[in-house]
């Protein structure tokens, strides 16, 4: 049995010189496992750092606790409702079906497309969260829940459906190589 504890202390000074501080402690026991993963993200690189849907047998296959921290700036993309969709060889597909995935096929006239490989794309309900991770400022999630399928509604993310974050991609904004540490538990 594993456990995960996060202690956060914030100290501020405002424009009048008034100091304020507060600390928070959160501990979760009874976890199946916890993993620390280090990754070097080279200058200008964009890559998945966690993608268990597409990476067979990758552990953990899901995470209920997540920490991401780096020694430089990194842009982070988290996909909510990451699911594979396989287009198999010799299968006739409707191009329109896949317009929200990774694969865009835009014919200018009626064409025949022969797909000779197996490809993986997100499905039409996936959503993509993005933010910038800043040096030594860990991003901590105590839950993998997030909203998918915003587009079907008029009420932004909350009008969607609650689902789980299923993949993480990072992009180094062309400054320098960055060391990323991820802590994942489930």
């Amino acid at each position: 049995m594993s456990s995960f504890k996060v202690i956060t202390r914030v100290e501020t000074v405002d424009d009048f010189g008034i100091e304020a501080s507060q600390s928070w402690v959160s501990e979760t026991g009874s976890l199946d496992n916890v993993m620390w993963v280090d990754a070097l993200i080279t200058q200008g690189a964009t890559k998945y750092v966690w993608n268990p849907i597409d990476w067979a047998d990758f552990k953990p296959s899901s995470c209920s606790k997540l920490v991401m921290t780096a020694d430089g700036d990194l842009d982070v993309e988290m996909t909510t409702h990451k699911t594979p969709h396989y287009i198999r060889e010799d299968t006739i597909i409707s191009v329109d079906t896949y317009y929200q995935g990774y694969v865009y096929i835009v014919p200018t006239a009626t064409v025949e497309v022969i797909v000779g490989v197996t490809m993986t794309v997100g499905d039409g309900y996936s959503e993509y969260n993005s933010f910038r991770l800043v040096e030594d400022t860990p991003f901590v999630l105590g839950s993998n829940l997030s909203y998918k399928d915003h587009a079907a509604t008029t009420d932004a993310a909350f009008g969607g459906t609650l689902d789980v974050i299923g993949s993480i991609m990072v992009s180094e904004p062309s400054t320098a190589s960055v060391n990323l540490t991820m802590i994942m538990s489930n």
């Binding site: 996060v6 202690i7 501020t12 928070w24 916890v34 996936s126 915003h150």
Partner: protein
């Protein structure tokens, strides 16, 4: 001159009993101001807690550092480039006593016009925050913005 300092310590115990811990400290100095806000979010409420695009004269109008923490569960929605037709929305679940800290307001909008998900979009600015209490109990939220 104002400043914002966050110290984060993670302590874990692995499946075989192996312990590991590490701390990180980030200090942002040279800020114009730091604003602490306390908001009570009632059961099942869905409210904006920061929306300077829609609320004229609301300050701060932008943040450089952000911390959100609650004493219960809250869903958080962050609008990226609100006011633009290609606005996008992040969403995360905030868990009791587990702060979410961002040292930047950058996020990607206009994903839909590309084939590369968020990173295929355009780097913009997070400029609204809304929270939703998922029907459990009234929750107290603390938001700290460094400007």
């Amino acid at each position: 001159m104002s400043s914002f300092k966050v110290v984060t310590t993670i302590e874990t115990v692995g499946i075989s009993g192996n312990k590991k811990d590490q701390s990180w400290t980030a200090v942002t100095a040279s800020l114009t101001d730091v604003v602490w806000s306390n908001v009570q979010v009632s059961t099942s409420a869905r409210i904006f807690i920061w929306n300077p695009t829609v609320w004229p004269d609301f300050t701060p109008t932008a943040y450089a550092t952000l911390m959100l923490v609650a004493n219960g569960t809250l869903d958080v929605e962050m609008g990226i480039q609100v006011g633009d037709a290609a606005v996008e929305y992040n969403s995360f679940r905030l868990v009791k006593d587990t702060p979410m800290v961002l040292g930047s307001n950058a996020g990607y909008y206009d994903h839909a016009s590309t084939t590369d998900a968020a990173f295929g979009g355009t780097l913009g600015t997070i400029n609204s925050i809304r929270v939703d209490e998922p029907g459990t109990e009234s929750v107290n939220l603390v938001m700290v913005m460094g400007v």
